[in-house]
């Protein structure tokens, strides 16, 4: 536990109680909810002179339900930097430059995250700039047209990557109606249409960029009372939204195994990916916790999969995987890059076999070691303000303000029987999708 003291927060317009520090988390977390629904957290931690500022919008490619508009949450992330009536895009750019902020943003299925690391004494000015953009973003048709070229460029840099192709194909094939079926970058045809999307962009902003969908985290060498006062001043005027959020289609249960092969035009290692349908990544969910521990055991470099495929049978360069990262039901994914395309069926079968074996799991000692591992992974991921804000924000997106402690408790509660149960329930052919990618038959490698 950190020795930093909690600054007492004196009453003001903010609602909410100061939460005690989470016993599973080494720094104090102070939380306030503004009247407009915006949630803010300040986390003081040792990081001399430096702080991270994250604005976590619960808006991602998951929200892209309109036909022809895949990739829009990410496109909007690009448009965010164009400015306001009081601070035009280029002036904003210069102001950020003068502040010396390391600023960036990213979009994924469930979120768009605007983040910066900055000298701690410059946090108030940076918060004011961000609050201005969230409330008063102004775009022109020309901005939208121009920025669409950068997004197409981003798509292009990924389009020559076979791993990206495998991932994109896997999620597309696995999902019939849920928006996880398309990649965050969007389909190429929709990206090509972005230059003409000015009106849609404005509507997207009005509908989703609202305080009740925002979580502000300030982590580092900061004093909570001063930061909260600044957040209140800057973000309180932001008006709640009036439109309902998009209703995300619910994916019906999968019936039967799905599979497809992708012919890749250039030399590469053959690849295989398996994705099983699993529940949403919710920190309080027991099945989700058991699956996360199962994934650590299955994909660890000490695990049976690595031992068989990498060490003993020497069929693959690497085999990796993860349990579902996302709030809605998603995929438990395993993937491997092979030495020889002829071994695809064999590697696929070994992955299935080793996954299914967890249906008989009973190794309490290994489970305890894995829990210890996950606790330490968490500890090592929070040694600077940027990583801490990222790790905390990600968990909070899935489980709210208390997510860190809730997740820790869920992991602690998992028994070997739980692991066996989730393996039998979810790692089954009915929920399985398989993608293989094969290089040209005559490719001798880029030698």
């Amino acid at each position: 536990m950190s020795t930093l003291s909690l600054a007492f927060f004196v009453g003001n317009a903010l609602a909410g109680d100061p939460a005690p520090a989470d016993p599973a988390f080494p720094y104090p977390i102070e939380t306030r909810t503004l009247a407009n629904g915006l949630t803010a957290h300040v986390v003081p931690m040792p990081s001399p002179g430096v702080a991270a500022v994250y604005v976590w919008m619960t808006v991602g490619s998951r929200d892209e339900i309109d036909a022809g508009r895949t990739g829009f949450a990410h496109f909007f992330e690009h448009l965010f930097f164009y400015g306001t009536p009081t601070l035009a895009g280029k002036d904003r750019e210069q102001t950020i430059v003068r502040l010396g902020a390391d600023e960036n943003a990213y979009t994924w299925n469930d979120e768009t995250v605007y983040h910066a690391v900055i000298a701690a004494d410059r946090v108030p000015e940076y918060l004011a700039i961000q609050a201005d953009v969230f409330q008063h973003l102004t775009l022109t048709d020309a901005d939208v047209r121009r920025e669409s070229g950068a997004v197409y460029g981003e798509w292009r840099k990924g389009s020559s990557n076979p791993d990206q192709k495998v991932s994109e194909t896997l999620w597309d094939l696995a999902f019939d109606v849920h928006t996880y079926g398309h990649d965050t970058i969007g389909w190429e045809a929709d990206i090509k249409a972005m230059p003409t999307a000015f009106e849609y962009a404005m509507a997207f902003h009005a509908r989703l960029y609202r305080p009740e969908n925002a979580r502000v985290l300030v982590v580092g060498d900061v004093k909570p009372d001063a930061v909260f006062a600044e957040i209140e001043k800057d973000f309180a005027p932001w008006q709640r939204g009036t439109e309902a959020r998009p209703v995300i289609p619910v994916e019906p249960p999968q019936k039967g195994l799905r599979s497809v092969n992708v012919d890749w035009p250039s030399p590469t290692g053959a690849k295989v990916a398996l994705g099983w349908k699993v529940p949403g990544n919710v920190p309080s969910d027991a099945d989700n916790a058991a699956l996360a521990l199962l994934a650590e055991m299955l994909f660890a470099d000490t695990g049976a999969l690595n031992k068989r495929l990498v060490d003993d049978e020497k069929l693959v360069y690497e085999v990796t995987g993860f349990s579902n990262y996302f709030v809605d039901p998603g995929l438990f994914v395993a993937d491997a890059t092979l030495k020889e395309p002829g071994d695809l069926a064999k590697v696929r079968d070994v992955i299935k076999e080793e996954a299914v074996k967890f249906g008989a799991f009973s190794d309490a000692a290994l489970l305890d070691k894995t829990r210890e591992r996950m606790r330490n992974l968490g500890l090592l991921a929070i040694d600077d303000p940027d990583e801490t804000a990222e790790a905390l924000g990600r968990l909070m997106r899935r489980g709210g303000t208390d997510a860190w402690g809730v997740w820790d408790a869920s992991l602690r509660a998992v028994t070997p029987m739980d692991v066996a149960r989730v393996a039998k329930a979810y790692l089954v052919d009915d929920g399985l999708t398989i993608v293989t990618l094969t290089p040209p038959a005559d490719a001798g490698g880029a030698q």
Binding site: T3, P46, S47, V50, E93, Q94, I96, V97, R98, L99, G100, A101, D102, N104, V117, I118, A119, R122, A142, R145, R146, S148, G149, A150, Y152, G153, R156, K157, S160, N161, D163, K192, P195, T196, S266, P267, T268, G269, D301, T302, V310, D311, K314, Y317, T337, K339, K369, T370, R373, M374, R375, N376, L379, L380, D383, D384, P439, G445, A446, Q447
Partner: protein
Amino acid sequence: MRAVWMLALVGCGPKIEPGAVKADAVAAPVRVLAQPDSTAPVVYLQAVIAAGSAYDRPGEEGLAALTARALVEAGAGERSFAAVKDALYPLGTGFEVVVDREWVSVRLACPKAYTAQCLSLFTDALTKPRFDEADVTRLREAAIYDVTDGLASDEEALAHEVLEGWLYEGHPYGHPVSGRAGVLPTFDREDLLRFYGDRYVRSAVLVGAGGGLDGAQLVDLGARLQTLPAKAAPELVMMAAPKFEGRHLLAVDTETPVTGYALGVPFAVDRNHADWPALFLAYTALGEHRQSHGRLFRELRTDRGLNYGDYAYLERFVQRGWSSMPEQGVLRSQPMTYLWLRPTGVENGAFLLKGAVDEWERFAKDGLTEPEFKDIQQYLGGRLRLLATDPGRRLAYALDAEATHTPNLLEVMPDAIAKLDLATVNAAIARDVHLEDLRIVAVTGDADGLVKALVEDSPTPIVYADGIVPDEAHSARDLELASKDLGIATENAKRRDAEGIFK
């Protein structure tokens, strides 16, 4: 037990230059740079070793990198590789190995409660590697994949590798760190043992210890390292980079319908040079890595939407993980200056290059403007504080400085930047940045078309995406750029297939 670690160190390690290592340096204990902080919940153990790929002998390209990886992935001391993995598993950590041309870095971050175990794992890897045969075979195959299909799958990395190979032909920097596909299969355990025996000696190793370890643990660390041999490592004679004249283009043909670039030239200014802080500021303005404020980024991406980003570098830059911050352990005694232009559609390949080179030339000729200088100076006042926000990164910077006898950027740059004025910066640019000689690598889906377009000297207008209409000022400038002559003579423009490039 003898206390063999020192808190303040005097440089006595090998420099990459001819000359015998002094006898007292050979026998001296392994140097340990300590930055302990008893309140830190994590312990950071790091080593930098003068054993990078420049030490590969001709015909043995890749041996240095293979040896470095095998330190941590082929067993050490009493532990097989499987036992090393088992020991690390509950700790939630793993070794990080960075290999570049001159240096190998080995790092292990460890929750404080496990310090004793990590000290044993870390020092065993450095002093008692086993190089078990089966593990060496696996690592060798992985390295072959890296330089063949692995690189083919990452066209942006391919452009950088090709550029470095071309700029440093016949030079110790002139092959990929991972090696060559035709050479790697010849290495066996004995080769690794020989390389390790030659290079991993006391005077070539510098160790850092930071975060939550105590004095006794530091003493233990120092003692464990003294089993490294006290002998001189064979010297490396580092020749100058080969000279070339004029501008040269190599278009590497791939299947993807995009064109991206890496272009550059060896550079005389290193971190010890008086002009380095001025040029650091200037290059931050021209095109800081993955930041949107750079001139190149604004001109090519923000204003024209040509691609995802365009950046300029004063020394070889390796990105640390997913962050935009620089990796440490990759400093070179012979720097290069270069641009990275991310892929655009093949139809705009020629225009992208012309736009970037024109911007670089204007920078070389006119320097920065007063407002630009002031903005960037103020920017760096904040930005420099962000370079190292955790104790492990601060330690890595300190090791870089100590190992290479260069200033620690974290310590010297805030002052150095604050003291600069515009005249000093522009004088440094005028003195040091010369672009008459350049090597340009394109990785492109249309190599023939690109070569033709660039040597023919006919206009190559920008093709805007549907519906994008530039304003008048941009239209006029676009016309100028489309007709720009890059000065690439026909005989200096070549194309080749990606296949077999690092045989």
